[in-house]
Amino acid sequence: MIYAPVLFVFIPIIIAIAVFLIKSPKAHYLVFLSQAALIVLFVLYALFLSANPDQNIIVFGGWDARFAISFYNDWLSLVFIGLTIFMWTVILLYTFKINYAQKKLFFFLMFLEGVFLGLIQTNDLFNMFVFLELTTVLVTILIVYRKGGEAFKAGLQYMLLNTVAAMFFLIGIILLYYVYGTINIRVIASEIALYSDYNIVKFAYVLMITGLCVKAALFPLFTWLPRAHGVAQASISALLSGLIVKAALYIFLRVNFDMFSNAYSMSEMFFWLGAISALVGVVIAMSQKDLKQILAYHTVSQVGIIMMGLAATGPIETLFTNPAAFGGLLHAVNHAVFKSLLFLAAGSIIRVYQTKKVYEIRGVFKTMPWTAIVLIVAMLSITGAPFFNGFISKSLIKYGFKQDALKMIVFTIVNLGTMISFVKFSQILFGPKQKLIVDRQYKQHFAMSLLAIASLVIGLAYYPIFKSLFALTWGGALYLDYLIYIEYIGYMALAVLIFHFVVKRDYLPFRLLRGSPISFLTANSIFVFSMIVIGLFVFL
């Protein structure tokens, strides 16, 4: 049972190669076989790990831990592994009917799952770099899969920007290797205090954090995310915004709080970095006309909110005791659930209506009732309505900085912006029934409703889940005090008002925001600029 993590990585990869090699399209059902095996394996491994928590490190090759590659699992990586397997099952259910004959798509998707599971568990910095590059190559091929003109442009920009970021991550690894003599995260974490005040370790820290800021699409460097989403298929953009962006945040947690154990106490700066990217993301999302662009810029702002939550963590163990940090982690999980639900629903709506413009789609509630219900569930949970999972994580994050007035204002503005942009998004629901051919996709409906049920379950039954899994006792009677309902309805009314008077008239600043995307060249100079800004914070 101790070698379960290796099976997590290699079951999807072997199935991917099997799908590719077997001629008949019948082989694609193997994909569900692998998902079932992964679910069973995950449950068994979670029980095994909770039974004897000390056997969570596997060293490959039996060499000294300092020189060999090793896998490390704790509660944090188990949460992400469970989320990955659940998300991949849903995505495969969704895309199975549409790309039935696409043998290559399943090959790339399953390979990406194996690599992603490896990326979560690896305990070796260079191995993490190899997995990052593999994820970049695979996601580029998946973005470019439909071979449209726009898809090639977005895929190329995604690959080049992320490769440069990963190379700077590699320079950081090199410098750390020469100072600590090893690339094993656990060993460096134990010896970090010896050299952490030398300049070269600070410089390595700056390079690694800048590389991660690009991959996590934080404030100045998020230009690649909206382009990649606009062109990719619904399922690919659901995966991209649901999980791949979270991988960068997961590595940020491992590198900043686990390995460097917050040696340079940068949590204040990370909070404000998250806050700015949340604000900027929401404002641009309000100005967009394209359905997928609204959701893409929304991912940037939600990642900012997660960073606001995660910035408060101390050492990794406190992730499960500090409410704000746990709120950030829970928001990452919730965001993966409801954002991918939004993308999948938007994908099926676009396929039926054959247009992406928000103003041209009307009457979704009557023509596609099932998708509309699921979309409403997702919209309520993203705006943080009570009884849904968005509300739990947002109130936990808010609990983190209860006393700081400025942070509360910023957080409420971001929530208001979220509500406004989703009022704009919800316009597509109203209106008469359109006579459009709606092909009955039962697999898709099942996949989307699976996600909706998940967000409801987390929203309603959060208390027993916290108590049993993580032994937390917060927010017992959250739903009893009526204040939260009034607060939500008040904000929603304010959002509708603002939408009608400000956003609908599409004033000049909104048109400007929509019209001026940042080119690849300026993105690189911004990359260098942000490296210097982070460097100033660390060195001074």
């Binding site: 190899v130 442009k153 190329l156 190379m167 590699l170 060249l521 260098v528």
Partner: protein
């Protein structure tokens, strides 16, 4: 042999990346960054009297072998990234007619 010169090569690569007007130039600059990076890694591991890491006799003093093993992986990754980027750039040329970065942003 000092690493500052190889770091300058990396910076030239970034400058090229931020200034190049078409896609192929940017892919060239990614190769430059990669070569500079490898040079930096090998220069840092240098010391007087270090020999090639082939153990003819058992007791000889060798140079740090880890960077060389890791850099072979980086070269292979760099070549896959380059060939994928070039294939995409050919397709971009034939579909949109130009490979200049400034034509990328024209909304139809």
């Amino acid at each position: 042999m000092n690493p500052i010169l190889s770091f300058v090569v990396i910076l030239i690569g970034i400058y090229g990346l931020a200034v190049s007007t078409n896609i192929i130039k940017s892919v060239f600059c990614v190769t430059i960054i990669e070569a500079g990076l490898i040079l930096l890694f090998l220069n840092l591991g240098q010391y007087e009297g270090g020999l090639i890491p082939i153990m003819e006799a058992l007791g000889i003093e060798i140079v740090d072998p880890i960077p060389q093993a890791l850099m072979i992986t980086t070269i292979v990754i760099g070549s896959t990234i380059t060939s994928l980027a070039l294939m995409i750039s050919i397709k971009i040329f034939h579909i949109t007619g130009s490979i200049e970065w400034k034509d990328f942003l024209k909304r139809k």
